[in-house]
C-alpha cells in the first residue's frame, strides 16, 4: 500500500470517542426521564374512554354546534377570537418599548440585558398563573382572559421584535443622514418602513398561537370556550365536547389559512 495513503488514513479524525460520549449521555437522559412515567391508574377502562372521545368528536352535538345564541358554539368561538385578537394587540403594544430597550444595537449592554431578563421572566410564568392573578383584578370573564393573553404574548413577540430591530439595515439611515434628514425624519422614513411589515407579521403569527392557547383561559374561568369544554369533558358529555372541538378545528384552520396569506403578502410586499 502507498505510504502517503497510509499516512492520510492514520490522520483520520477519531470521532468515535465523541460519538460514544454523546450516545451515553442521550441514552442516560432517556432512561432517567423514563422513570417519571407513572399514573394513578384510570378509574374506568381507558380504551373505552378513548373510543367515547373519538365517537364524540365524529358525532358532534349539532344543535349545540349551530346554536346562535350566546350559549352556542359560534358565540363562544367569536368570544375566543375577540380575546385572542385584543390580547395580541395589548401584547404587541407592550412589546414595542420592551423590545427597543432590549435591542443590543440601540441601548447600552446592561440595560439591554436587564430588558431581556424581564422578558424571560415574563415568559416563564405559566398562562394559568397569569389567568388566576388577573381574575383577582377584573373578576372572572373574558376581560381577565385578554389581559392574560396579552402578557403571555410579550415573551415571544418582543423576542422577535428585538431580532427585527437588530437586523435593521443601517445603510438606509446613513443615506437619509447624507440627504440631511433630522432624527424624526430618519425614524419615519428610515426605520418604520423596515420594521412595520415585520412587526405586523409577528403579531399575526402570535394571534394564531393565542387562538390555540385560549383553551387554558377558559379552564381558569377567564372566558372563551375552555370552560364549557372542560365541563363537558369532565362530565363525559363527549358529543358536546366534540361540537366544541369541531368548531375550534374549523376556526383554527380558517384563521391559519388567512394569516399565512397575509404574512406571505407582508414579507413579499
Amino acid at each position: 500500500m502507498n505510504q502517503r495513503i497510509q499516512q492520510a488514513y492514520d490522520k483520520r479524525p477519531k470521532d468515535w470517542v465523541y460519538n460514544l460520549i454523546t450516545a451515553v449521555i442521550v441514552v442516560g437522559l432517556l432512561i432517567w426521564s423514563g422513570s417519571a412515567v407513572e399514573t394513578s391508574g384510570s378509574t374506568q377502562d381507558g380504551g373505552q374512554i378513548a373510543l367515547n372521545v373519538l365517537s364524540g368528536i365524529f358525532h358532534p352535538d349539532l344543535s349545540f354546534l349551530f346554536d346562535f345564541s350566546t350559549k352556542g358554539v359560534p358565540y363562544l368561538m367569536l368570544e375566543t377570537v375577540c380575546i385572542a385578537f385584543l390580547g395580541t394587540i395589548v401584547g404587541a403594544i407592550i412589546s414595542i418599548p420592551l423590545a427597543f430597550i432590549s435591542a443590543s444595537n440601540l441601548t447600552p449592554l446592561p440595560i439591554a440585558f436587564a430588558g431581556r431578563l424581564i422578558i424571560m421572566a415574563a415568559r416563564t410564568i405559566p398562562a394559568f398563573v397569569y389567568g388566576l392573578m388577573f381574575i383577582r383584578v377584573t373578576g372572572p370573564g373574558a376581560f381577565a382572559g385578554l389581559l392574560t393573553m396579552g402578557v403571555c404574548s410579550i415573551g415571544m413577540i418582543s423576542k422577535m421584535y428585538i431580532e427585527a430591530i437588530e437586523d435593521l439595515d443601517t445603510r438606509v439611515i446613513e443615506s437619509l443622514d447624507a440627504a440631511g434628514c433630522n432624527t424624526w425624519q430618519k425614524i419615519r422614513y428610515g426605520i418604520l418602513p423596515q420594521l412595520m411589515p415585520n412587526f405586523a407579521s409577528t403579531a399575526i403569527y402570535r394571534f394564531d398561537i393565542n387562538l390555540r392557547d385560549a383553551t387554558i383561559l377558559g379552564m381558569v374561568g377567564a372566558g372563551g370556550f375552555g370552560a364549557p369544554l372542560i365541563f363537558a369533558m369532565n362530565s363525559y358529555r363527549w358529543n358536546e365536547a366534540g361540537a366544541l372541538l369541531a368548531g375550534l378545528i374549523v376556526l383554527i384552520l380558517i384563521i391559519e389559512f388567512i394569516s399565512t396569506r397575509i404574512r406571505v403578502k407582508l414579507t413579499r410586499g
Binding site: L29, L30, S33, G34, S35, A36, V37, E38, T39, S40, G41, S42, T43, G46, I49, A50, V53, L78, E79, C82, I83, F85, L86, M120, R123, T124, I125, P126, A127, F128, V129, L132, M133, F134, R136, V137, T138, G141, A142, F143, G145, L146, L147, R212, D213, A214, T215, I216, M219, V220, G223, G226, L229, I230, M233, L245, L248, I249, L253, E256
Partner: protein
C-alpha cells in the same frame, strides 16, 4: 394596467408629466386594513368587556399579588425538586418519542420522497389536524384515558411534538438539494439507500436543532399541564395559588425560571454547534 374591483371604485391617481407621459398610482389599500382592524377592536372591546377604568383602578391588585411572591419562601424548595424533575422528565421523554415517531410520517408527507400524491396529502392533513388540537385538551383526554399522573403529560407532549416536528421535518426534506440523491441512484443505489446516504446527512442537523428548540418550549408547556392533573410542577403551582400561599408560588416560579434559563442556554449552545 391591471384594475381590480377595488381600483374601479377608488380610481388610481393620475400624474401627468411635463412631457405628456402619464403615470398611475393605485389607490392605497391601507385605509381598508385600518378600518378592518379598528372595527375588530371595537367588536372585541364590546364582547370581552374591556374597560380601561377598571384596568387603571385595579391593576394595582396584580402587582400586590406579584409583590407577595417576594421574597420567595426558600423553605419550600425541598418539596419542589421532585415535581420540577418530573416536569423535565416528561417533556424530555415526550419530545423524544414524538420527534422519533414523526420521522416516517414526515417522509411520507414529502413530495420528493413519497411518490403517491394521495399519501402526501393525507399525511399533511393529519399533521395540520393534530396541530390544531390544543395541548391542554390532549392532556385532559390523556388523564381520562391513562389516569392522573405524568404519563398523561408525557403523552400530551409527545402528540404535540409529533405534529410540530413532523411539519418542520417534511418542509426541510422538501427543500433539500436532490442532486446527491440523483447521484446515488445513478450509482445503482435503491431509493431507501439514496435517502439514508444523501438526504439524511443534509436534514439531520436541522432536525436535531428543531428537536432541541421543541424541547425548550415543552419544558414551559409542561408546567401548564399540571393544571389538568397531568403531573409535574403545574400541580403544586395550582395548589399553592388556590391556597394563596404566594411566597411558595414565588419559589416555584423562581425554580422554574432558573431551570428554563439553564435548559435554554445549553440548548442554544448545542444548536449553534449543529447548524
Amino acid at each position: 394596467m391591471n384594475l381590480t374591483f377595488y381600483d374601479k371604485i377608488f380610481k388610481p391617481k393620475e400624474y401627468v408629466l411635463p412631457n405628456g407621459k402619464k403615470a398611475y398610482k393605485k389607490a392605497s389599500r391601507a385605509p381598508i386594513y385600518v378600518i378592518l382592524v379598528l372595527a375588530m377592536c371595537a367588536l372585541s372591546v364590546k364582547i370581552t368587556g374591556f374597560d380601561m377604568e377598571v384596568l387603571v383602578s385595579r391593576i394595582g391588585q396584580f402587582f400586590v399579588i406579584l409583590g407577595e411572591m417576594f421574597p420567595p419562601n426558600t423553605d419550600y424548595m425541598p418539596k419542589i425538586w421532585e415535581p420540577l424533575f418530573d416536569t423535565i422528565k416528561m417533556s424530555l421523554l415526550g419530545s423524544v418519542v414524538g420527534a422519533l415517531l414523526s420521522v416516517p410520517f414526515a417522509m411520507l408527507a414529502s413530495t420528493n420522497v413519497c411518490p403517491s400524491k394521495i399519501v402526501v396529502s393525507v399525511m399533511r392533513v393529519m399533521f395540520s389536524l393534530i396541530r390544531t388540537l390544543p395541548t391542554i385538551v390532549i392532556a385532559l383526554v390523556a388523564t381520562l384515558v391513562f389516569g392522573l399522573g405524568t404519563l398523561a403529560g408525557t403523552v400530551a407532549i409527545a402528540v404535540f411534538s409529533f405534529g410540530y416536528i413532523g411539519k418542520l421535518t417534511y418542509e426541510e426534506i422538501e427543500t433539500v438539494d436532490m442532486g446527491a440523491f440523483e447521484a446515488m441512484q445513478a450509482m445503482g443505489a435503491t431509493r431507501s439507500e439514496a435517502f439514508i446516504s444523501a438526504i439524511i446527512p443534509q436534514v439531520l442537523p436541522f432536525y436535531l436543532s428543531n428537536c432541541l428548540f421543541n424541547f425548550e418550549g415543552n419544558v414551559r408547556y409542561a408546567a401548564v399541564l399540571g393544571y389538568v392533573g397531568a403531573g409535574g410542577i403545574g400541580l403544586i403551582l395550582n395548589e399553592k395559588i388556590s391556597w394563596r400561599e404566594y411566597p411558595s408560588v414565588g419559589m416555584i416560579l423562581l425554580a422554574l425560571f432558573v431551570t428554563v434559563f439553564i435548559i435554554e442556554s445549553v440548548s442554544r449552545m448545542l444548536r449553534k454547534k449543529l447548524v
